[in-house]
């Protein structure tokens, strides 16, 4: 028996699952950094987030009688990215709840992969930030890093009594910069390596950039969104009197721009659309970082631009060659 099908009869070897696997690989250096900076507790947060994300997707498919889709690994990616946005000390049941909301509400209720209008991980993170503000803003780091970075006498005295491998609360650099809390701002090298308080995956710029190189080599992402988001954010913060390198190296800017804003489903398709999207993220991040009641605004900025993405796609539609609008 011969098979008959419409052309084309060959396919590019790249698959959705392969793309997700590349993203997972690109996130691994940051996981290594997280374990070094936040200890094994960070691993527990990631494990719970991924497990709950995958189970939520599997159950949703069962309940909604859809084809099982957990094999495409997209829930694993969402689980990792959500965990990377959380502080290492967050109670694990909150982590699980966040993952369940990310997959269940933001993704599966809208039709699953490809039909969600907002980035599930960001939605999960914002859900947790709104619901559990205190725990979510309790940024921690291993005591050994807090000790070396602390110049304020009374904090140093408190830290003297804890073991080096305990998690201790430390102000994030951006919160200190906005004078929201007392503390000291680490030097640029510390910011680049990530040995300071912050969320699990965002702190180590070095580890994130190693992952970015993998994504670029594998052509999973291009640089339109990250560059049009990062460069204007830094320049605007600088123009408004901020320290440009501090804004580049701290908070979620690098992580958000490369790993969350580039999510295919919730970002525009054409290069022009991506630049508009990135500029919008930059403007919103700048406004929130400098003038809002929060020290950081990357995830809100991306979420708002996610919502605008269908409109950006409509504005930046390519003009078909030979078509009625091509002027020929």
């Amino acid at each position: 028996m011969l098979r008959v099908s419409a052309s084309p009869h060959i396919r590019d070897p790249r698959t959705t699952k392969g793309i997700m696997l590349d993203v997972i690989i690109s996130l691994m250096p940051a996981l290594v950094a997280a374990v070094l900076i936040f200890g094994p507790r960070s691993l527990a947060v990631v494990a719970v987030s991924v497990a709950v994300a995958v189970i939520t997707e599997a159950l949703s498919n069962l309940v909604l009688k859809r084809k099982q889709t957990v094999n495409d690994l997209s829930a694993v990616v969402t689980g990792i990215i959500l965990a990377y946005c959380l502080p290492a000390g967050l109670p694990l049941w909150m982590v699980g709840l966040g993952a369940a909301v990310a997959i269940g509400a933001a993704k599966m209720l809208f039709g699953g992969l490809g039909d969600n209008f907002a980035n599930p991980a960001i939605t999960g993170r914002i859900f947790l930030a709104v619901s559990f503000g205190t725990q979510m803003s309790n940024s921690v780091v291993l005591a050994r890093f807090a000790k070396t970075g602390t110049e304020i006498a009374n904090q140093a005295a408190q830290l003297a009594s804890v073991a080096e491998t305990d998690l201790v609360t430390q102000a994030t650099p951006l919160a200190v910069a906005r004078n929201m809390v007392d503390g000291s701002i680490p030097d640029y090298k510390t910011l680049f390596l990530g040995t300071h308080a912050g969320t699990i995956g965002e702190v180590s710029i070095l580890a994130l950039l190693i992952g970015v190189i993998w994504l670029l080599i594998r052509s999973v992402i291009d640089l339109w969104i990250p560059l049009s988001m990062i460069v204007p954010t830094v320049l605007l913060c600088w123009a408004a009197g901020g320290d440009p390198l501090l804004h580049l190296l701290s908070g979620g800017l690098i992580f958000g721009a490369f790993f969350m804003a580039t999510d295919y489903v919730t970002s525009p398709i054409t290069a022009r659309g991506k630049v508009i999207f990135g500029l919008g993220c930059a403007l919103l991040t700048f406004l929130m970082r400098m003038y809002s009641g929060m020290p950081e605004g990357v995830s809100y900025a991306i979420l708002i631009m996610n919502i605008l993405t269908p409109h950006i796609n409509e504005w930046t539609k390519p003009i078909p060659i030979g078509g009625s609008k091509s002027g020929k």
Binding site: D12, L223, P318, I321
Partner: protein, 446 residues
């Protein structure tokens, strides 16, 4: 910068030009051949022969029934065994003439060089030769060589791009018969009354470029007014598609639903122009062609000169047989070729390749959800939004298909090739286009 690049339209599937260095071999030992009387765009022919008739090579066996129809000739000498109506692999019906080959290949006395004194003689001769476009579309050549008077044609584009994987027949023809190609260009340009000829070749065939350039130098004095240029295109699918090729080499745009005429260009395949030269010299009509035989189920690939109507299973056996059971047989290249349903289908006039894939290669991955990655948008040479046209076609949303210029789709298949979710993009868009065209013909939009 390396990673900030403009969308590079088209795709580059693995070349698989395994037969590029092989000489063309003639295959003749076919006991039975079957010639369909419809091998072209538009209606075909009615039979001129009946069971029991004796036919000779080059003898006309089909009488054209429509304004675009070209005659069909016997490719062997022998006895007509059967004339019957059969369903073709594309769902149309046609008369099939089955001939028992006497292996003598006796040439019919009808075969003699045509007398060409004016353009009408030339067009009549090209029609009588049974010539249709040999690149794959099977458009009757005499129609293409006679542009409507309101279209000002100033360029003949000769297509030797051969951008599909596997196919090498154009390449081998360019290497082995360069002077016939140049003569054909000159004759076609002369009667089209155009001064400029561009031969378009992808840069993976630079040997063909230099071979043809030499032939141009040698022969250009015969028609000093006609300027033949050999131009290279980057190796990228679908640079062999005529609208893309015209745009890349001249900057002209063929409008939606239009033909190259509308951009002032006539496009012919290299083998088609070569045939024009050999036919005017010998009078032997279109009864044989060169095919590339390749694919994962075969013992070895080859490039063969076969009589039209030879059964594909016989050609496969004559070409060395299979090492594993064929899972899919494709007439044409893997990007745009048609999968055939029966292994004993005949070789057709516009059939440049037979691909015999094994079971493993015959199975295509199943669809998953669209992740809006935009790969199809970047690959589309017509700058369409394939994923949106696909979804519009699936929900039969003809208004969106029309508004978003689905009719600009050239059906190259780049979108479905690159899609990481393996979605049937071009397949659904083609269905959508057909629906849209049928509704537009009826003058309804509901």
């Amino acid at each position: 910068m390396l990673f900030i690049r403009r969308a590079k339209q088209g795709v580059h599937p693995p070349d698989n030009k395994n037969t590029r260095n092989m000489a063309i071999q003639k295959l003749d030992a076919f006991d039975t051949i079957t010639i369909p009387l419809d091998m072209q765009v538009g209606p075909g022919c009615d039979p001129l022969v009946a069971k029991g008739d004796t036919v000779l090579v080059g003898q006309q066996i089909g009488e054209p029934i429509g304004g675009w129809s070209v005659p069909v000739h016997s490719s062997v000498s022998g006895l007509v065994e059967r004339v019957r109506i059969e369903i073709l692999s594309d769902g149309e019906t046609a008369h099939y003439v089955t001939i028992k080959n006497d292996h003598q290949y006796t040439v019919s006395p009808e075969v003699k060089p045509p007398q060409v004194n004016n353009k009408d003689d030339f067009l009549a001769a090209i029609r009588a030769s049974g010539l249709v476009g040999m690149g794959g579309a099977a458009f009757p050549t005499f129609v293409k060589l006679n542009p409507p008077p309101d279209k000002k044609v100033d360029l003949l584009m000769v297509n030797g791009a051969e951008c599909e994987p596997y196919i090498t027949s154009d390449h081998r023809i360019m290497l082995q018969y360069p002077e016939e190609i140049i003569q054909g260009c000159q004759i076609a340009a002369y009667w089209l009354e155009v001064k400029d000829v561009i031969i378009a070749i992808e840069d993976n065939k630079l040997d063909a470029v230099s071979t043809l350039e030499k032939a141009v130098l040698k022969l250009q004095d015969r028609y000093p007014d006609i300027k033949i240029k050999v131009r290279t295109l980057p190796t990228r699918y679908p640079h062999g598609a005529e609208t893309v090729q015209i745009r890349k080499l001249t900057g002209r745009v063929v409008p939606k639903g239009g033909l190259p005429f509308d951009a002032g260009v006539v496009v012919q395949n290299v083998q088609t122009v070569r045939f024009i030269a050999t036919y005017l010299a010998t009078g032997m009509p279109f009864v044989r062609r060169i095919i590339t035989l390749d694919g994962s189920a075969l013992n070895h690939a080859g490039i063969y000169d076969v009589p039209i109507g030879a059964h594909i299973d016989d050609v496969i056996v004559a070409g060395g047989g299979t090492k594993s059971p064929p899972g899919k047989i494709i007439m044409g290249g893997p990007m745009m070729g048609k999968a055939i349903d029966e292994i004993d289908r005949p070789i057709l006039k516009h059939n440049n390749t037979i691909l015999v894939l094994n079971e493993k290669d015959a199975v295509l991955p199943s669809e998953t959800a669209c992740i809006q990655c935009g790969a199809c948008v970047r690959a589309c040479p017509s700058q369409l939004l394939p994923h949106e046209l696909d979804s519009a076609a699936r929900r039969l949303d003809l208004a969106t298909l029309d508004r978003d210029d689905a009719l600009c789709c050239i059906e190259c298949g780049c979108c479905a090739y690159v899609c990481p979710s393996k979605r049937h993009l071009v397949q659904n868009i083609i269905i959508g286009k057909d629906l849209l065209l049928s509704v537009q013909k009826k003058g309804r939009t509901d």
